[in-house]
Amino acid sequence: MPRASDISRSLDRLGLTRDRRRIVYAYLAAITLFVVGDIVHPGFARLDSVTAVLTVASFVGLVAVGQTFVVLVGGIDLSVPWVLNGAAILLVTTSLGRDSLSPYALLVTLGMGAAAGAVNGFAIAFLDVPAVVMTLAMDGIVEGLTLGLSGGMTCRACASYAPPVVQDAVHGSVFGVPAALILWFVVIVVVSFILSFTTFGRKAYAIGNNPLASYLAGVNVRLVTAFLYVLSGLFAALAGVLLVGFGGQASLGMGSPYLFQSIAAVVIGGVYMLGGRGHYLGVAAGAVTLVALVSVLLAMNMPDYGRNIIYGIVILLLLLLYGREEREE
């Protein structure tokens, strides 16, 4: 009987390294869920239903871009929920639902996300504040500011809709493909390219593997780390913009599912939580897997609590299947 290590060695020879295998597993998990979904709820794997799942997954996927960046350097971004939520509210309150104001509103909103990320990055990279503490505090800071400035969502501007331009951009489609999906696809290509083929991307991996060695090799560890947090804030804000464009109006708490989902997508996608390993291609599949799982459970009319339980168990199973650390001898 062949031993597991022999199998993995022969797969390595075929070009399927462990990191690449994890990406393949993530896609297999996504496909399996669609197949299972189609069995328990016929029609689940039809094109329109798949498109709907992918569109919802694109929001998770965008948040997960930022999460991937910071996890690659061994960090984590817990400020995602309120940066996303704050961005959504900021977009409607600055644009007041008018197209003429939307360029300014978009600039302010994305700027807010980048600014929150910049403060995170500065404190984590330059002041050595633990990432968990800093981003947790930032989540509270943005929450407090959002609630306080909007009067707990009672302000008159808070009820505004997203500008029609933004709504149309999210709901529009090119040759039958939803615009949100096209944007996500572009992001997947660009992010994968940046991570694999640019010095910036390679520096991120290097820092995640060994910050000291990267520093000695001439990488500006602090600056690159800080910039990755800026990107995370920016992507969370972008997801907020798209979500409010998708739903029309902003609401309190709309960001809260995205912390869990973005981290879970990163993990299912095969990114190593301690940094230095993993790829966004896998994370994209992880986002699809998560959303497909939720959709299957919804299609089965599973009550709320059941969804929570199964959701957690499936993630644990996926982790046990391939998220394990090597045994240290």
Partner: protein, 329 residues
């Protein structure tokens, strides 16, 4: 060069203590400052000093956080993080609201059972982390979802009831008798610090390889840390139910984050192995005092999490600076 010049002069006993226990000292001074500021703002608002009622309600409201923070502290000491704290509190809170009625024997029996269930839930986390070799953050993120689901299954709508006798035994509304429980938690830490289990958990958090090389059963230490956390969180849920005199399967959610805040304010190192549970108790009280101070300073409660976030970052940055200075001397 003489030998005396090369050997550093041994620090005085006080300087040594301050350097070794910088976190604890800072946490206790922060608590002292918080109490003074609280008395000051209370004086300005009410023209009197806080009396028996204020002390009692502060202690009673802090009890769940003292317990949850201590649970989190055990896991943090082992170089982990327990995000399922909120889920365990939810479940034990829900169970308490549904099952705690009838005679004394039944109440005591169910309380013990709830504590055991909490320890078992923690054990599951521990086994997945220790034997499954999964990342603590990921495991507890997934089990958080499962435990929250179970809690909602037990108590779908807020409600249930806690007998007045139970409330007055745990959190007496008239006298600050709950201070006795605070003392008890402190004793638990004292015993933990001196027990074989405690030492092995701290050794594991300091340096896993060194701990294993010295014969510490690291898997067992890690599993125990998580089980202890589950036990303490379940106790927090009981106290939360007793204070609210009813149950709600979602009120525990916030404790995942506030337990981490209490640990950080308590001066415990998030990377394991260093810190004091006494500091964490102080940290829990500081967390409650900030809310009280903000209340009596007439600050819009909507901004509350903003100030908490700013305070958290400020404390971490300042304590890193002061700790560095103390150790350098």
């Amino acid at each position: 060069m003489s030998i005396e010049a090369t050997v550093a002069r041994p620090p005085t006993r006080i300087a040594y203590f301050l350097g070794q226990n910088a976190g604890l000292v800072l946490a206790l001074s922060m608590l002292a400052i918080a109490i003074i500021v609280y008395c000051a703002v209370y004086w300005f608002a009410q023209a009197a000093l806080p009396g028996n009622f204020e002390i009692t309600s502060t202690v009673n409201n802090t009890m769940p956080l003292v317990l949850a923070g201590m649970g989190q502290a055990f896991v943090v000491m082992s170089r982990g993080l327990d995000l399922s704290v909120g889920g365990v509190i939810d479940l034990s809170n829900a169970l308490a609201a549904v099952e705690l009625h009838g005679d004394v024997a039944r109440m005591v029996g169910w309380s013990a059972l709830v504590l055991l269930i909490g320890a078992a839930l923690g054990l599951v986390n521990g086994l997945l982390v220790g034997i499954g070799r999964l990342q603590p953050i990921l495991v507890t993120l997934a089990t958080l979802s499962v435990y929250q689901g179970l809690a909602i299954r037990v108590l779908p709508q807020p409600g249930g009831s806690i007998p007045p006798a139970y409330t007055s035994a745990l959190v007496n509304p008239n006298q600050p008798y709950a201070l006795g429980f605070v003392l008890l938690v402190g004793l638990v830490w004292w015993a933990f610090r001196r027990s074989r289990t405690g030492v092995s958990i701290i050794a594991l958090g300091n340096d896993e390889m060194a701990a294993r090389a010295n014969g510490v059963d690291t898997v067992r230490a890690r599993v125990t840390a998580f089980a202890l956390s589950g036990f303490m969180s379940a106790a927090a849920g009981l106290f939360l139910a007793a204070t609210a005199t009813a149950g709600d399967a979602t009120t525990g959610n916030g404790y995942t984050l506030t337990s981490i805040v209490a640990v950080v304010l308590g001066g415990m190192n998030l990377f394991g192995g260093r810190g004091s549970g006494i500091g964490v108790i102080a940290g829990a009280f500081v967390t409650t005092m900030i809310v009280n101070i903000l209340f009596f300073s007439n600050i819009d409660p909507l901004y509350q999490s903003f100030y908490e976030g700013v305070f958290l970052v400020a404390v971490v940055v300042l304590s890193a600076l002061i700790g560095g200075l103390l150790r350098r001397r």
